[in-house]
Symmetry: C2
Subunit: 246 residues, 2 copies
DNA sequence: CGAAGGCTTGATAGACCTCAAACACAGTGG
DNA sequence: CCACTGTGTTTGAGGTCTATCAAGCCTTCG
């Protein structure tokens, strides 16, 4: 369907993302640009990939927010990660053939499907890209671990604050979102599923954060008047994101 | 210090582990056997690697139990994984140069240090082994996600049961532990740190499990009279471990 | 205007935590 | 052989964070 649609290499979402964690040679950028992309648009609240699927493509987020989640037998849900443009949430499917979790949209999202075959061919030819994508999956794991610390040991208040901090850094890195805020198209219900909290409690915590002047949240727009203060409350330290500068 | 110490390939802990998730050619086994190992013994409750370290080796567990954990500013701890012989808990350090978590022993443990350089050389020469180790790190991530579902959404009772089920499968796979039980050299305090629970509550949950006849736990010896029953309570499904048979 | 989805609020209940103390057991030393 | 110590387990009694239930409110959209 679509291909070197991103005239400038730096507009390709994957290149933009990967440059946040590693340096890319021109040749490597060319290889990424040459990947065949089939862009699909998914409505809000739709599954892109489902648990037990055996995908033949990876999905690169081009636009919108998606999440990784699992369902429990009784229908409750645990969200295990939010993914933004440039992320490949099911990169694992390259080596884990059966999905052990689902990927679903939170809002309308454009997703570029990349055949495993094309990816594999690229990685064979550019082993350093293989290392970089491996690194990418490891960072995904690192985020998961930090998240887990939150759910296991932090109060709801800190947990929410921590998530907001993480998203700020990640969105800023890819050029969405600014120092003092960003668009957060996530319902309180979804936040609860992500943080292991009930919707009601998420609501109360958000009000606390508002009351303390740490955030201004209206509709989908989040403003953070004092980022440092929020970091402090959340005990947030971005080193686990393994950005290049760090 | 040490090398092809494991005369039979099948006694090399890494080979034994990897054969649980993939097939290895003779050549690949030889390559693994040729890896230089420096075996060190760590006492119980000692750090093998620490957060913020920049290791130049990976550590392969040869004997004993170790765990991955993070400390919070106030000293509380979250354990994010138990690792057993054949595991390389800091394989990530190959691509993530700064450790974002610590690895510590639970009991006296023998650990084989493998220089990054040797690993990298091996992976360059045997790209399929690179894929398999990548896969290995992805499985680590999958375990993490399942664990997270537990902490976020399951009751303490189910959480404990789930952990016991997971360890049973993993230990049996490498030849330790049997269908109906295994050695569990983990204190209730450590279980709590792993599951996001207090020691006291872990104790009460264990008594419940005992009361319901699901486990017999004395000293470090766990017996599971009816594995299926425990699986059911835990809602345990081993597919997330991505074993070969599945 | 009505419907639907999300947000907000109040009241109640329960899972789990904290504090505190007793108990059990292995290892140490006299 | 017996205190003595240290670590881990067990028990009890509050207390608190968070869930659940239930209802009202607000915005968006056809």
């Amino acid at each position: 369907m679509n291909f070197a649609f991103y005239g400038q290499a730096d507009q390709h979402p994957l290149i933009r993302r990967l440059e946040g964690i590693a340096d890319l040679s021109d040749e490597e950028k060319q290889a990424i640009l040459a990947l065949p992309l089939t862009v699909k648009v998914f409505e809000a609240d739709t599954d892109v990939v489902r648990e037990k699927d055996r995908p033949s493509d990876c999905c690169l987020i081009v636009n919108g927010f998606v999440c990784r989640y699992k369902l429990l037998p009784d229908g409750r849900r645990q969200i295990m990660g939010f993914y933004i443009p440039g992320d490949i949430p099911d990169l694992q499917s390259l080596h884990l053939h059966v999905m052990d979790n689902s990927i679903g949209t939170l809002v309308t999202a454009s997703v570029a499907m990349i055949p495993h075959e094309s990816l594999r061919k690229m990685l064979r030819r550019h082993p350093r890209l293989a290392d970089i994508l491996w690194r990418e999956t490891l960072i995904d794991g690192a985020m998961l671990r930090e998240w887990m610390v939150g759910i296991g040991r932090r109060t709801a208040y800190q947990r929410v604050a921590h998530l907001l901090c993480e998203l700020q850094v990640r969105l800023k890195m890819i050029g969405l979102g600014k120092e003092d805020g960003y668009e957060l198209p996530v319902t309180q219900n979804e936040l609860g599923d992500a943080l292991g909290l009930s919707t009601v409690h998420v609501n109360r915590v958000l009000q606390d954060l508002r009351g303390h002047g740490l955030i201004v949240l209206r509709g989908g727009a989040l403003r953070i008047p004092d980022l440092k203060a929020l970091w402090q409350v959340a005990e947030f330290n971005p080193s686990y994101l393994h950005l290049k500068e760090s």
